[in-house]
């Protein structure tokens, strides 16, 4: 265990009062958290945050539930792959990251990693050891550039959280967080075989998004190194050991979030990412009307000429939930474009019936009028 600068782990239930510099850090963190919590960027689905906190409780050692800590997991509406921990135990995970994770065991790996950054006081150690609080923000801004506006918006939220998330801690501290987080998830009964898969997915994802690996991981050990380090732990200590994976539970809890994230990706224009996530949702639950509708929207944007496949998704959305207005409007416009006047009119009228105060009512009325 690597603990430097005379800062033993927190959360043992007998925490000594914080030293002055750490008190200052915590008070900065409190301000950042307040700003984040009021920013409107929090993903507000209580079922999702409740589930995440349940997993966090499962992996947290009993001693971290008392003392100075107040461990809590919150979600930020942001499609980038990211997560970060504040020194007081508050952990923020991006929707984009949660959409990539496949099961509860991988989620436990991530949460264990972030929790370790907090319990092992990595933030104050970095600030004390490297005196880089001023440098961090500069590095942060530079690193945020490849992530576009979402990256830049993120940097404006606070320095401390993103110091951990984007610029990263030293290799030794990241390795410690990997190792200790791994122990936490295994102790909680999860399959250790899933831990390296989290990073394998991230590696694939970075290639898929064409993001340069070093930018995302900053000074973190490179993804491949981390995968190898997990693999070596698996071979030396947990060879053949299984455990809980929790795919079904994860899917049940996260599907609404994955769909929301896909909708953001469609707006941004990251259509392939959105398609993949929506297909994933429908593979698990073909009855999800919203996923069908969004897949139709994806088709409409990707291949506007392919009316057959697009309309099929709109029809399936209507079949799954006839009271959802949007698929009726989308199908109505599509049918009108194809010359099916009566079919198009019927769908648009249904839309207005279901959404009498629709903001685009004037367009729909105009389309109806022109098609008569």
């Amino acid at each position: 265990m690597v603990i430097g600068c005379g800062a033993p782990p927190l959360g043992k239930g007998q925490d000594k009062p914080l030293e002055e510099d750490e008190q200052r850090l915590w008070s900065t963190v409190a301000e950042e958290e307040k700003r984040l919590d009021q920013s409107g960027l929090l993903y507000g689905d209580q079922a999702v945050t409740g589930y995440l906190n349940e997993i966090m409780r499962r992996i947290s050692p009993p001693e971290t539930t008392s003392g100075l800590f107040a461990v809590e997991v919150l979600v930020l509406k942001n499609p980038l792959l990211n997560a970060f921990a504040y020194p007081n135990g508050k952990i923020y995970v991006h929707t984009g990251m949660l959409a990539r994770i496949e099961n509860e065991a991988q989620l436990a790996t991530l949460l264990g990693h972030e929790l370790t950054h907090a319990t092992h006081r990595h933030a104050i150690q970095e600030l004390r050891g490297a005196r880089r609080s001023g440098v961090a923000l500069g590095v942060l801004r530079m690193i945020a550039i490849p992530f576009g506006l979402f990256g830049l918006a993120a940097t404006s939220l606070g320095t401390i959280g993103y110091m951990g998330a984007v610029t990263g801690y030293s290799r030794a501290k990241e390795a410690e967080a990997d190792q200790e987080g791994f122990v936490l998830m295994v102790k909680a009964g999860y399959s250790p075989q899933e831990a390296p898969k989290l990073f394998e997915h991230l590696k694939v994802e970075l290639a898929f998004r064409k993001v340069d690996e070093p930018f995302f991981f900053g000074s973190h050990p490179h993804v491949q190194e981390r995968i190898e380090s997990y693999r070596s732990l698996l071979e030396s200590q947990y060879a053949g050991q299984g455990g809980d994976i929790g795919t079904e539970r994860y899917d049940a809890a996260m599907m609404p979030l994955i769909i929301d994230n896909a909708e953001t990706d469609i707006a941004i224009g990251r259509l392939s990412l959105a398609e993949r996530d929506l297909q994933r949702v429908l593979q698990k639950n073909d009855d999800n009307a919203r996923a069908h509708f969004l897949l139709g929207e994806f088709r409409n944007r990707k291949e506007p000429g392919d009316a057959e496949r697009r309309d099929e998704h709109y029809r399936q959305a209507i079949d799954r939930n006839p009271r959802m207005p949007d698929p009726h409007r989308a199908l109505g416009y599509s049918l009108l474009k194809q010359g099916d006047r009566y079919g198009g009119q019927a769908e648009l009228q249904k839309y207005l019936e279901l959404a009498p105060r629709a903001p685009d009512r004037a367009y729909v009325e105009q389309a109806l009028k022109e098609s008569r």
Partner: protein, 196 residues
């Protein structure tokens, strides 16, 4: 007072990163027809205008032709932008194509707004047809929460005409300022015309 307003506007623009180089800021009270990039627009009395220089890359990327304000750009900003149909949007990776219907252009414009991570709690109030620059266009109204937590409202007119996306918008705090200045936006919109 006028000088104060101009200085305030300059400082606001500098903070927002819009003014890294000399640009033209016309004093309050000016009232003239602005020939600009093939578009003519008549702006109201007692509004100051800001025109970025041609080598302002930031403004160029967003296609900003003209900014107007009466009380300061954080209190109300009327913005006129003009971009080639194939140009990149600032936030979304999607592209316009000629021949798109006005509501499709409006939807894409909204996607670009939705993709802006600083626009929080976006709520569309109205998306309707409109005539802009004499061409079929769109009208959008939406509210959002800015970084300060204040609810703001945006009214927007736009059209895809002559292979150009032209957008005129008013962004103001929802309380008081938006309703007060909405008629001004309508007047400015009615004054828009192509030069030839």
């Amino acid at each position: 007072m006028t000088l104060v307003r101009i200085l305030l506007a300059l400082s606001l623009l500098s903070v927002a990163g819009c003014l890294p180089r000399p640009a033209k800021l016309a004093p309050v009270g000016a009232h003239e027809i602005l020939p600009s990039d093939q578009i003519e627009v008549e702006w109201p009395l007692e509004w100051m205008t800001f025109r970025p220089t041609e080598n302002d890359d930031n403004a160029k990327k967003e296609g900003i032709v003209l900014l107007l304000s009466r009380d300061g750009f954080s209190l109300q900003t009327i913005r006129l932008t003009k971009q080639a149909a194939g140009a990149d949007f600032k936030y979304t990776q999607k592209k316009l194509s000629t021949g798109m219907l006005p509501q499709e252009v409006a939807e894409l414009t909204l996607d670009n707004i939705r993709a802006n991570p600083e626009v929080i709690d976006l709520s569309v109030i109205e998306s309707a047809p409109a005539t802009v620059l004499g061409a079929p266009g769109f009208k959008l109204r939406y509210t959002y929460r800015g970084k300060t937590g204040l609810t703001r409202e945006v009214g927007m007119y736009g059209c895809l005409d002559r292979d150009m996306l032209v957008i005129l918008s008013l962004d103001a705090p929802r309380r008081y300022y938006f309703e007060k200045d909405w008629p001004v936006l309508d007047k400015v919109k009615d004054s828009l015309r192509w030069q030839s």
